[in-house]
């Protein structure tokens, strides 16, 4: 997979963030951006025919293990962010009865 394609994934995420007015869609878009970044990192660290970086007797011609180690951390953080933001979505739905940014803003004004 070409690294340029991962940039396309990231741009799709940003396009979604700047157009969708649904909070859950925004959460998805952040996840998409994050997947794009992870794919970019793994892509650049990989090469065709590279072996898996696990200690065994044939430790030659392996891919760089560092990007994979770092990206596991990023995935963990990303799942935390997703979980937390979905929880906030549920709470917003309980308070306002909607998960649309504009509608939440309107009902907030009505309340105050």
């Amino acid at each position: 997979m070409n690294p340029i394609l991962t940039f396309v994934v990231i741009l799709i995420g940003f396009y979604g963030l700047s157009t969708s007015d649904n909070i859950i869609k925004s959460v998805f878009c952040v996840t998409i951006i994050e997947s794009g970044v992870i794919l970019l990192f793994l892509n650049l660290g990989n090469f065709e025919g590279g072996g898996i970086p696990i200690l065994n007797d044939q430790l030659v011609n392996i891919v760089d293990p560092l990007p994979q180690a770092l990206m596991i951390t990023t995935i963990v953080i990303g799942s935390t962010v997703t979980a937390l933001s979905l929880m906030l979505c549920i709470k917003i739905f309980h308070h306002y009865g909607t998960v649309e940014w504009a509608e939440v803003l309107r009902r907030e004004d009505v309340k105050s």
């Binding site: 940003f14 700047s18 952040v30 650049l44 770092l70 937390l84 308070h95």
Partner: protein, 533 residues
Amino acid sequence: MIHIPILLIFLPVITSILVYLFKWKHMNIIVLFSQLLLTIMAVIYFGHFYGQFENTHIVLGGWDHRIGISLANDTLSMSFIFLSIFTWWMVLIYEFSFGKTKHTFLFFLIFLQGVFLGLLQSNDLFNLFVFLELTTIIVTILIAYKKHGESFRAAIYYLLLNTSGVLIFLIGIILIYFTFGTINIVYLHETLTTADDTMVVRLSYLFLMAGISVKTALFPVFTWLPKAHGVAQSAISALLSGLIVKGGVYLFFRINFLYDNVGIDYTDFFFVIGALTAIVGVMFAVSQKDIKQILAFHTVSQVGIVMMGISSTDANIFYGGVLHTFNHAFFKSLLFLGAGVIIKVYRTKKVGEIRGVMSTMPVVSIFMIIGMLSITGAPFFNGFISKSIIKYGIQDTTWKYWALYAVNIGTATSFIKMSQIFFGPKTVSYPMKHMAQNITLMSLAFACIVLGNFYIPFTQNFFGIAYDQEFIHIGAFIDYGVTLSLGFLFYRYIISKDYRPIKTLREYKMSFETANYLFIIYLVTMVVYFIWI
């Protein structure tokens, strides 16, 4: 001795877990004890390594120093560590003065301290990313802690916008790693000294900077800040405005130190961004009527002034900006905590409905007035010193000088508006039993006055720079008087009339989509500025 940085990170984390797991009755004492231990360790560490901070670089776990997790300190990071420990002392004492604090709240509050100290000491870029993201997550929980609909909306706005910013920061790290093969800041600085000024280096710089700009709340992407800082509890607002925003500022100069030999000319760009941040922040601030919203928008404008200072390559102006981050931390925490007391007693946040604070609670009002004098830049208070350093540094360029002057007038206007709350008859009763609160406010006010008069030893020891210029002279008083009177006239004849544009400005709320759209535009502007020109 060299491993104290690890303890500085893990002691608050362990304390917070103990507090959460065991739910002791007297956990306040344990928390304060651990805080005391933290302070002592930081002081011993600073004393031991004073003058030889290049030896503090450690790599954890015995890994290769180019890729392992590493920590390092210098005087600048130590000064920020002391600032954060001090702010946490204040916030903890303030919170405890209200009686029973919830375990879960305390857990997140103290955990955040460990994470933030990690952010300050981290010496590799990936850990910076991890700590940045951790701060974002914990701060989100703290913002949402009030469990109002408004706070949930502010929290998710903050979380999503900052996460997308931090992910852009991560792209910058990726580019650096695959260009130079290391993410350790110390080694990277050596490598970058000899590196060519290529497209990839510039791209990595601007991706890192774009991520940091979101965290710092610079001009087009500041919209998360006022809402988030306005709806949180007062102690949390003080912490966020005083300190957590400075995490972004701190990263700004860490990354700029990294790239200082590459030859990227960022001064004008970030000065303009800083000036725009300051002016837009002040414009929104003068239109607000909610006391916490006013203070939150002033955080935006003061961060703009800090950026005006630290975007400079001249050491004097640069450290003026750094000094302003400290001063801002003190007076903004003071104002937010004082406002918290007032809001608690009056049960309203509207400036128009609060009257007679002076006769109801004289002690709190005196400290609030000290905070207001500091933020507007009165002589003998700390805001004056750092603003003067920046002002004298940039006064050769006319438009820069007038931009700063306009911000000062705006600041004066909105604090003249806020000072109305002191006048009037006594309307509510206030039991004088919150000793701890007054101690907190007093220490912060004391810090404002001390830094306003004895700043030279401070800047000498921490920044290695001595300002021999005398700032307090008759011209400074006249200048301050003129600023105040212009602010008063501006308030009396324009703001208090509440014309339609001011109302529109006050009720304007930027939607999340627009904020992201602006972020993309900001990114494109940076690409155009740093790569094509």
